[in-house]
Amino acid sequence: MSARLDQLCDRLKAAFAGRIGEPVFALGELTIEVDAANYVDVMRQLQGHPDFKFELLLDLSGVDYSTYSNWQGKRFAIVSHLLSISHNLRLRVRTFADDEEFPVLPSVIDIWAGANWYEREAFDLYGVHFDGHPDLRRILTDYGFVGHPFRKDFPISGHVEMHYDAEQKRVVYAPVTIEPREVTPRIVREEQYGKGGAR
């Protein structure tokens, strides 16, 4: 780990002792995990505190961990990527929504105005609700879309298809007629696969 990330790691531990999990360092990136209860507090300090100064919320996205490897944790996560221009550092913050049926997390829109559309997107695609968001509408999907398409249990072909009906003179929706098709199956190989010497 580089000296500067080391320092950031120590500062994080000192400032948020007990409120964040152990910072994880992998591939040159630092990741912290925060409980939903401490999420906004931690984010506010990360943005404002002179030790951190993460002025930019670069990205905020949902992740559905339901089919991930042998996952035991909660299903929906919100992953934010922060960038500090003053310190030239990046940080990834992950927080999990407690409820699977109705995932709710507090909004960070008061801290970074740029979170507005990112939270709308996560709501649209994953169905995560953001408490305190003033305008939580769908953003990318169609008007009147049903469901949250990026969840792992949503089929890639969707549920409805649309076509123009000449008699009714309008576009009509109907259940999909296409079958999902997988050309290359999803394969996870064991660790030593193809390395040789395991005979």
Partner: protein, 417 residues
């Protein structure tokens, strides 16, 4: 006096100044914008979801179709993220080629941005001239990948193939013959690098011409100076990056601050604006074109004298040479496994970002060790910019909305993904 209610105007999605498929609901008080509500998603193709069902390498061409005016930069971020997870070293020559093509892409993008911005607010000629230069650069794309736009040239581990020794030439036709034919083929006698060097020679003069048309143009200045001002603190809070951030006076460029590939070996400057208005952002883009030309020149000089491999020798990631595949059993197996099953990326997550012409383009990958991504998130630079349209446009006249959309350099393939 009878009550005058605010007037709601639907702008787009089919409007020439909407840069694609932006639908904008404008609430107007007379001619003043009270609220702007962009409706996006009309070009949403679910690239991120589609990528989950395709092998890692199959998603590379999808990246071209995100921001379809800066194709190779999108591929670049995706390849960088994969290389980070795979722990692969990219050959130096491939890094130079990538940097050179990134800068070609930056010029392509900025020509489009400045040209269409000018077209939107009434200056027709710039767009026409810009397309003359874009044509040359797209020829450079074609020479190297076979496609003018959707190149799929960058691959995890390097680039698909080395630069060609011969630049394709125009053939005689009904429209091009005699002296005209000779003239268009004049720069195409040598290699691709010769062609690009000739381009770099003439392009700065062309940029001067664009500046002649716009920089001191009274109408252009009236339409852009003081319009869409973004304070630096606000720009950060709204998540801006690229020329939108630099236009507000914040010196932040990943190529300098967090250099990737060989940018740390190359000499160039970052232009920064002072007022944060549309005019400053225009000046930043123009200067970036000049700096890109400088970078391309340095890359050409290096590439001329340093031959070498352009893709990694790790055949779990990049295919073996055709010749070896025919003669060598192991390479045959590698080839077969790579093209039927694909690359396996180790369990974990990574975020890689590049200085895309529009801002920071990031790719966040979560992998469960399979031959397909578990989750792919694309951080498109245009998304937060458009999100801030409401805030920036509020209080401006309706005609300024078009100037602001133009200065944001929106491309919907990138915003809607």
């Amino acid at each position: 006096m009878s009550d005058i209610k605010n007037y709601t105007l639907n702008f787009g999605p089919q409007h020439p100044a909407a840069h694609g498929v932006l639908r904008l609901i404008l609430e107007l008080d007379g001619e003043v914008i009270v609220r702007a509500d962009p409706h996006i998603g009309l070009l949403h193709r679910g690239t991120e979801k589609l990528a989950e069902t395709r092998t890692w390498i199959q998603s590379v061409p999808y990246m071209d179709r995100l921001d379809y005016v800066s194709m190779m930069c999108n591929e670049h971020a995706y390849c960088l993220a994969m290389e980070k997870m795979l722990g692969i070293e990219v050959p130096l020559r491939a890094q130079y080629i990538r940097v050179m093509y990134d800068e070609i892409t930056r010029i392509l993008n900025h020509l489009m941005a400045v040209g269409s911005h000018a077209l939107d607010i009434g200056a027709m000629a710039v767009m026409l001239y810009a397309f003359r230069d874009r044509e040359d650069l797209m020829d450079a794309y074609e020479a190297v990948s076979g496609a003018r736009m959707h190149a799929a040239y960058y691959r995890p581990g390097g680039v698909y193939r080395d630069l060609p020794d011969r630049m394709p030439q125009y053939r005689q036709s009904k429209f091009k013959k005699g002296d005209a034919l000779k003239q268009v083929n004049e720069d195409r006698q040598g290699s691709l690098l010769d062609f690009l060097e000739a381009f770099c020679g003439r392009f700065p003069k062309y940029v001067d011409e664009y500046e002649d048309l716009l920089t001191d143009n009274r109408i252009w200045k009236q339409r852009t100076v003081g319009v869409g001002v973004v304070e630096p603190e606000r720009a950060l809070n709204l998540g801006f990056s690229g020329p939108m951030l630099r236009g507000s006076g914040i010196e932040w460029d990943l190529r300098k601050k967090q250099p990737y590939e060989v940018y740390d070996r190359i000499d160039f400057d970052i232009p920064v604006g002072t007022n944060g208005d549309c005019y400053d952002r225009y000046l930043v883009r123009v200067e970036e074109m000049r700096q890109s030309t400088r970078i391309i020149k340095q890359c050409i000089d290096w590439l001329r004298v340093n031959p070498g491999p352009v893709i990694t020798g790790n055949h779990k990631v990049a295919p073996p040479a055709r010749e070896n595949m025919k003669a060598n059993m192991e390479e045959l197996i590698h080839h077969f496994k790579l093209f039927t099953e694909g690359i396996h990326v180790p369990l974990g997550e990574a975020y890689a970002a590049i200085e895309h012409p529009k801002g920071e383009f990031g790719v966040y990958i979560v992998s469960d060790g399979a031959n397909k991504p578990y989750r792919l998130k694309l951080r498109s630079p245009g998304f937060p910019h458009l999100a801030a349209l409401d805030e920036i446009a509020r209080g401006h006249m309706i005609a300024d909305a078009v100037a602001i959309i133009g200065t944001m350099d929106l491309v919907f393939g990138d915003i809607d993904r």
